[in-house]
Symmetry: C2
Subunit: 222 residues, 2 copies
DNA sequence: TAGTTAAAAAAACGTATGATCGTTTAATTG
DNA sequence: CAATTAAACGATCATACGTTTTTTTAACTA
């Protein structure tokens, strides 16, 4: 017995990616074995090599394709928006909605960078940088036009991204809140966080001078 | 040749923890081998078992002790604070300052939950819940006293924690910004994010009705 | 100082891993 | 329909893993 009746390359590849995504999410890249993955797909582990050349390639492509799709859809969501506040709102709505359905990919893209080989790592970091740049651009414009106020654009960019992405750690479909409520909650948080003007109890608090800094800095991600 | 001259249990244990922290951070728990760890410490891999009983125990204790320390110091930072806004500011300042020095622990505590055995996992999740509860409590009080406004306390809690913790992914000592500037940037973001009142351009935006919800929900973490 | 405990080295155990390779069958192509 | 390609099976390779066990030496204790 050899080739299974009904086998079809593209279909098997899809099953591999789907199972890989789940197993890496649940166990981690290193802890997922190819025997485990193959069993999940319904083939023998040696057969995986008809579809992927290495285990590393599977991880790389899962992460890369996720980020590429994210960029594609973000650009679509931002289309036609002119004012920074509209862009930011669209960014938030898109990010939250999209990430509700990509919990696994996001977690893996954050936790498995270290499992990527150097060349792959660099490619992924560059893609992530492109996504971050879009938000930084929105904030920079908003600050320049007086619509936003932040202490530091780069810090705000990373912080807001973290805030928005954090939902993947707790969100589950069918929970207490509707998708719309969650989007609304994040919109309020984010749009308020960069709103010009005082934070609570300015009259009784000492705050650093309000500085509007719109420069890119030397901050690095790990 | 057997016992090395100058060996001292507590000291070796500390070296194991330190090396373990770094290697797990850099490679992941599953990808770090005990031979690698032992080499880093300067002993043979079998000798590790004089100090730890299993590889799993090492991970568990690293994560558990980190969170316990976090809780201890948070409570100290909140001491004497009465008003919600003061508590929140103290929370932010503490969280940001503390996490600047615990980048590795934090990343591991977030990405290696899945590497914990069920019993250990539950213990850690409970500890994390205690930390989250402290922020949720502050927000709830603030909302009840009219100092804060959020769409949903639980969502805001998780979002703010994510925002504050996100710094560990990019912060490096000696970067462009001083520690104080980073704390200030986060304070502005967080305190503004829960500030009562309008987000930018209320006049031109449709927003959901402002609801002050202070209930605990059924949200779950992964 | 003899006995005990601690902590290391060294070797081995039982099991597991990513990947290779040869064979077999199914599907496709001209 | 024969030949080719695709995709699977089954076995194996070379290496690695967490852990155990025995031995050896250092440090401590009474």
């Amino acid at each position: 017995m050899a080739r299974t009746i009904g086998s079809h390359g593209p279909k098997t590849m899809e099953a591999i990616r789907k199972a890989g995504l789940r197993l890496i999410f649940e166990h981690g890249f290193a802890a997922m074995s190819l025997r485990q993955l193959a069993a999940e797909v319904g083939i023998q582990s040696g057969s995986l090599y008809n579809h992927i050349s290495t285990k590393q390639e599977l991880l790389f492509e899962l992460v890369r394709d996720h980020i590429n799709e994210l960029l594609r859809q973000l650009d679509r969501a931002l289309q036609g928006k002119q004012r920074p506040v509209d862009k930011l709102r669209a960014f938030v709505a898109f990010h939250v909605s999209y990430h509700m359905t990509r919990k696994r990919e996001v977690f893996i893209a954050n936790s498995e960078l270290r499992s990527l080989e150097p060349k792959n790592y660099e490619a992924i970091v560059a893609l992530r940088g492109a996504y971050e740049a879009r938000l930084a651009e929105i904030l920079t414009e908003g600050v320049a036009e007086g619509e936003f106020e932040v202490v530091d654009v780069q810090v705000a960019t990373f912080a807001i991204l973290a805030l928005l992405t954090g939902l993947t750690t707790w969100y589950r479909p069918g929970g207490r809140l509707t998708k719309e409520a969650i989007v609304a909650a994040h919109e309020k948080l984010v749009l308020s966080s960069v709103a010009p003007g005082p934070a609570p109890d300015r009259a009784q608090t000492k705050r650093p001078p309000s500085r509007r800094v719109a420069t890119r800095g030397t901050l690095e991600r790990r």
